[in-house]
């Protein structure tokens, strides 16, 4: 059976992140938590974020989902941990633009491992899986702003 096409989606890097996701768990120091779900498939993410001095000082996630959503969360946490909030916001925007409109969006190369997820665009039904964690983070930062 020829599954060659599939390797576009399930690159080794994605599978590695999915099987051994980074920053899984809950943060004792979190000052923002967001639960978000993908109602189509039931994927759930619980994101906890510690914001300090205008930075994402620490971040972790829990929840249950397919390899794309797990890998995406893992890559995202790698990327944003320690970064200034303003930069994180820009990266979220770039990532969502990459997946929802333009796989070759400018700045994609600054997304770290997550840049590889541009490949998901070829599997439209899976885009929501890839964006779930990022939307949760967007929401966490949005709520943080409201509290200021």
């Amino acid at each position: 059976m020829n599954l060659g096409h599939l390797s576009d989606l399930y690159r080794q890097l994605i599978l590695d992140h999915a099987q051994h996701p980074h920053h899984r768990g809950q943060l004792a120091t979190a000052n923002q938590t967001v639960n978000l779900n993908n109602p189509t498939c039931g994927d759930v993410i619980e994101l906890s974020v510690e914001l300090k001095n205008d930075r994402v000082a620490d971040i972790a996630f829990n929840g249950d989902g397919c390899s794309i959503s797990q890998a995406s969360a893992s890559m995202m946490t790698d990327l944003v941990k320690g970064q200034p909030i303003a930069q994180v916001r820009a990266e979220i925007a770039t990532f969502l633009e990459m997946l929802m409109n333009d796989p070759e969006v400018e700045g994609a190369d600054e997304l770290g491992d997550a840049a590889i997820l541009a490949t998901v665009v070829k599997f439209p039904a899976r885009i929501k899986c890839a964006t779930l964690a990022w939307k949760a983070l967007e929401q966490a930062l949005g709520e943080a702003q409201q509290h200021e």
Binding site: M1, T40, C41, G42, D43, V44, G65, C66, I68, C129
Partner: protein
């Protein structure tokens, strides 16, 4: 006339298509069925020759459209062994169930009354009762599952009491495939004076359904799940309860007389059919029922049982596959829901899609059941009369390929 089931596939134009370079293996029939040529032709014919608004015009087209529409009402009545004035057309099962909950349930429920539903309900037969319970102060009670994925009838008997006003449950579970004992459950509910509402979305089209023997008070199903068009469904209610039930939508055609301050409604079923109905879709539903009858129940049941049994067997043989719901047997309808250990259903479905195999992955609009099963999602292969052993073999091969691909 009994048709050769091996050629039935040819009646469905969509099935001759290739997906990702593979022949389409459509195994998402519980979500929606494909349409035979005769249904598509009936729609086209209606729009090309008879289209007019019904019950309204004295001209030839209007009369033709009205007659065909009303003939399908009679046909549906005959199909489920009911009378024509017990058949209300709706948009689908979801609308039917909502109207029953809002138009009838809300009327008979008092604070402190019990509504009994089951943990295997589709959201469409769950959320409406949850909302009516909130609205009326009634309590929602759940029938749980036995270890083998059937309803716990002992617990059901315990739940039943004088406080039970409504019992609502699915005829066939869209996840477990369980066929529930409608007749027995109805009888028990009637003994305590409760009304029985049955969600027939996954039953009609797979085996004959007979209102006189089931004896339930309300029954709902969708056209698009019985080889008919989207946009049409059926609400069956016993004559006396439809008489009592309030219309939920108001507008043209369902009235006798509208005055500035008060309105006098027609009798059932017309009092529920406000505004322009899905006329073409009702006529398409008629063509679908005709098609089912042409194939014949025994052919359909034999074929679906054979295909389901094969799927059950072939999937079970794959190490790491867990199947949900009852053993293969008389209590299982035409679907198999499963998980492959170590592979998320979404990932599995994507692999299957590359092989042309269309299955559903997710919570199947049954989140409380998922919680009960302790999973967040599952993969479901569900069958229609056109599925064959070759479809099932493709499914099993694709699952094995996924297993290899993900090295689990």
């Amino acid at each position: 006339m009994v048709k050769d089931i091996a050629t039935a596939r040819n009646d469905f134009p969509i099935l001759s298509q290739q997906i990702n370079g593979q022949p389409l293996t459509y195994l998402d029939n519980a979500a929606t069925t494909q349409k035979p040529r005769s249904v598509i032709d009936a729609l086209t014919h209606y729009y090309e020759f008879d289209n007019a608004n019904i019950h309204r015009g004295v001209y030839t087209l209007a009369e033709r459209a009205t007659e065909q529409y009303e003939q399908v009402r009679q046909q549906v009545a005959d199909f489920i062994h009911a009378d024509r004035d017990e058949i209300v057309f709706t948009r689908g099962t979801t609308t039917s169930l909502n109207w029953i909950a809002l138009g009838f349930g809300a009327q008979v429920l008092q604070p402190g009354d019990d509504i009994i539903i089951t943990v295997m309900e589709h959201h469409s037969n769950l959320v409406p009762w949850q909302q009516v319970a909130l609205q009326t102060g009634a309590n929602l009670r759940y029938v749980e599952l036995t270890a083998d994925g059937e309803l716990d009838l002992a617990q059901y008997r315990q739940l039943l009491s004088k406080k039970t006003k409504i019992v609502a449950f699915t005829h066939v579970s869209n996840v477990l495939g369980t066929i529930n004992p409608v007749q027995l459950m109805t009888q028990l509910a009637h003994e305590v004076g409760a009304y029985v509402v049955v969600d027939g979305a996954q039953a009609v089209g797979h085996f004959p359904v007979d209102m006189t023997s089931l004896d339930c008070d309300f029954y709902a199903f969708s056209g698009h799940k019985v080889y008919g068009p989207t946009g049409v469904g059926v609400l069956y209610g016993k004559r006396e309860w439809l008489k009592k039930m309030n219309p939920v939508e108001f507008g043209g055609e369902m009235i006798n007389l509208v005055q500035r301050e008060i309105t006098d409604f027609k009798a059932a079923p017309e009092k529920f059919e406000a505004g322009t109905m899905p006329i073409a879709q009702v006529i398409g539903l008629g063509a679908a029922l005709t098609y089912i009858q042409k194939i014949g129940w025994s052919t359909i049941e034999t074929q679906e049982r054979r295909v389901t049994a094969a799927a059950y067997q072939l999937l079970k043989e794959i190490p790491g596959v867990e199947i949900y719901g009852p053993e293969m047997g008389p209590h299982r309808s035409a679907l198999v829901t499963f998980n492959l250990k170590g592979v998320h259903p979404h990932d599995l479905a994507t692999v299957l899609d590359t092989q042309g195999v269309a299955v559903r992955a997710g919570h199947h609009c049954a989140q409380p059941l998922m919680q009960t099963l302790g999973v967040s999602a599952t993969t479901r292969a569900s069958f229609g009369l056109y599925n064959q052993l070759s479809d099932v073999k493709r499914l099993a091969a694709a699952v094995r390929a996924a297993k290899e691909f993900f090295q689990v």
